[in-house]
Symmetry: C2
Subunit: 411 residues, 2 copies
């Protein structure tokens, strides 16, 4: 029996109507919206029209007729309110990883006398890998990645640091940095900041302009629901434009791409971040997916994600049978993004057993169950149902079956 107060929370949910904007199977509780956002209902028709009418019917003319060539900027501008950016500072292209490389080099150009990139030991691996790749390429006299534990970040800022290079919401624990204060601290030491907003955008209020962030990147396929492998984005503060030249100089970033000049000249503003031909199919899906956010306040998104997470923690922690699940996320919901991590020695098998019962969650090595609280699709009743199923699986050790032990390629 679902408690009355849970049903009341759904009654009071100002975002409840948004569930209808998505095509989600019945009888699934989707706690993976932080990993792969669900399908917005408006995407299939847009894609059909794009493929059949634009590509199929108007063919190459579509670059002009249907504004394909402007899509990286157009999608960037649609994203801008979600990150708190005035126009002309966000562009959509390539992957988060590739965009990190661009902004790392750009930031280093702005601090030519410094070489240290300061990051966090448990930053998302691709952030670390891309910086390691750049360090190998340039040599450690020009660029050096230094990683410290989260709690040592503020005290590790010194006047050697060229760039503070962080992900706002930790991919495992959901712990959330205060961008405003860390950016201020970095600037006080003459360092620039690069924020990876992959686990923030679409669920956490962001004010990049107000916080005077220098560069940011983010992901299109998590809380933004842009589809598997959707294009990523870059934010660069307008005050820095024209002071750097990103290194992946492709023809789409040229001042005049269709002049086909032999020498590269960077386009003005964000367009210099473009490299190859924009991926129109994926941009169109993300473009349409973003329309769901048009009438939504980002504070409302975070408030609901927090409330869903609080209910989840409460329901887990009050169950005597779930005491083996240890919360690995910050205890206070205001310190978290849109996800929660619990450790359990049998986390993998539990994740598979949950999946079989229609509760889709992530597993992260070595023993983490990760639950994402996408505020556009989830009801409080679903949180109750998910914890109810979780309790049964754990209490009855229903996860302890060979079928739930088998490892998969993607976890």
């Amino acid at each position: 029996m679902i408690p009355a107060e849970v049903l009341q929370m759904d009654q009071d949910d100002g975002l409840a109507h948004k569930r209808a904007a998505f095509d989600l199977p019945d009888n699934i509780v989707y706690l993976n919206g932080n990993s792969l956002g669900p399908l917005p209902s408006s995407v299939p028709a847009r894609m059909q029209s794009l493929i059949n009418d634009e590509w199929g019917g108007d063919l190459i003319s579509s670059w002009n007729m249907h504004g394909w060539i402007d899509m990286p900027q157009q999608v960037g501008e649609k994203l801008a309110p979600l990150v708190g950016a005035a126009a002309g500072q966000v562009i959509c292209c390539d992957s988060v990883s590739i965009n990190l490389f661009k902004v790392l080099v750009a930031a280093l150009q702005l601090r030519p006398d410094r070489s240290v990139v300061l990051s966090q030991t448990d930053n998302f691996p691709t952030d670390l890998y891309m910086a390691q790749g750049l360090e190998s390429l340039l040599g450690s006299t020009r660029m050096q990645l230094r990683t410290v534990a989260e709690q040592e970040l503020a005290t590790s800022l010194d006047n050697d640091i060229a760039v503070l290079y962080l992900t706002q919401v930790n991919f495992r624990s959901g712990a959330m940095h205060d961008i405003a204060s860390l950016t201020r601290a970095a600037h006080e030491h003459g360092a620039l900041v690069i924020w990876d907003l992959s686990h923030s955008v679409g669920v956490v209020p962001l004010a990049l302009d107000e916080w005077q962030v220098d560069f940011a990147v983010g992901c299109g396929y998590k809380f933004l629901n842009g589809g598997p492998g959707a294009p990523a984005f870059i934010y660069a503060n307008a005050s820095l434009h024209d002071q750097f030249q990103q290194p992946l100089q492709g023809w789409m970033g040229h001042e005049n791409a269709f002049a086909f000049e032999p020498a590269y000249k960077p386009a003005k503003g964000m367009a210099q971040f473009l490299v190859g031909t924009p991926n129109i199919l994926s941009l169109a899906a993300l473009d349409t997916a973003l329309d769901v956010f048009a009438d939504v306040e980002t504070t409302a998104l975070h408030n609901k994600a927090r409330a869903l997470g609080e209910l989840f923690v409460e329901l887990v922690q009050k169950e005597p049978g779930l005491q083996e699940l240890v919360l690995e996320s910050p205890a206070r919901s205001e310190d978290r993004g849109g996800q929660l991590a619990f450790s359990h020695p049998q986390a993998w098998s539990i994740s598979r057993a949950l999946h079989k019962e229609g509760v889709m969650v992530d597993y992260r090595e070595p023993n983490i169950l990760r639950f994402g609280f996408s505020p556009l699709i989830l009801s409080f009743e679903e949180i109750w149902r998910a914890t109810h199923i979780l309790r049964k699986i754990v209490e009855e050790k229903a996860y302890d079956k060979p079928e739930f032990r088998e490892k998969l390629a993607v976890t």
Copy 2:
């Protein structure tokens, strides 16, 4: 009246049945297949299923259930026969531009005592721009781009050259390099080769393994018909694997991405070229588009493209009214890829007037009309119709109208 010999050519065309594999509007002669390939008829259903059933229905489980995670390799293997590669040497990801950056750095690592990258003055701009960007990043003592005219390439090879860096088929003129002989010459001087096959693949026979090519890249949206901004590909000769580490070290190129380890370890083989999360929507479209090539010999493709081009040149050159059109491509069809260039002082207006009459062609600065001969979709009758319409437009100066002078964003 269409000449009988033209109709006979269509009768004898062993690829004529392939037109039915594409959704092309009636009454269009599409001479842009070299720029944006048309829509394969099988793509819409695949995309609908991918979007509705996989993304929408199976959600994040699709990474395993529907093999999303393997798509870069899978599409690479489907491409391999088209470039003459044994298995394990082609992978599909990112854009041509970004892939050029990866293989440039990889090739330079293999020749640590050399720094010169030799290219052609009129190589496709993005190839030059990416190399210029790398030169700026590394400094010219580590990497230096040297460009020479096409006819000076062979004599410019010396023992300073680390990499010969060329596009096989010139984007403007369609002039085609002999990969085998230039690769041999480069190797005799101890240089490696990087071939950009963007204007070759899908229309020209390629034998990368046999020619002992070191690295190659190519485009998915031209003759391969993978859709606007389709992912590109990389070929790396198996003999070189494990001897380099490409610099854009993203999590998908890690030996064990889902272990989320803090230190990068490149995956074995081609997988190290992966960077960010694969773009599934675009990969699926290209994957399906490639099925059209399953039963086609690449020599048959080139033979038909040559025959179409020969007929086009013949019909243009015999018309007294078309003498202002100057052939800017090699005279012999065996020296060309799948396209032709003619210059004319009013090329832009002519291209717009042709477009209005249903003949879709490219314009390239400053005065080039570019005609692509996609052998899977074009009939010889269409070539006749296109030149017929071209003659009327040029003879009657029908292009000389204000509406045809207006410039567009994409040309």
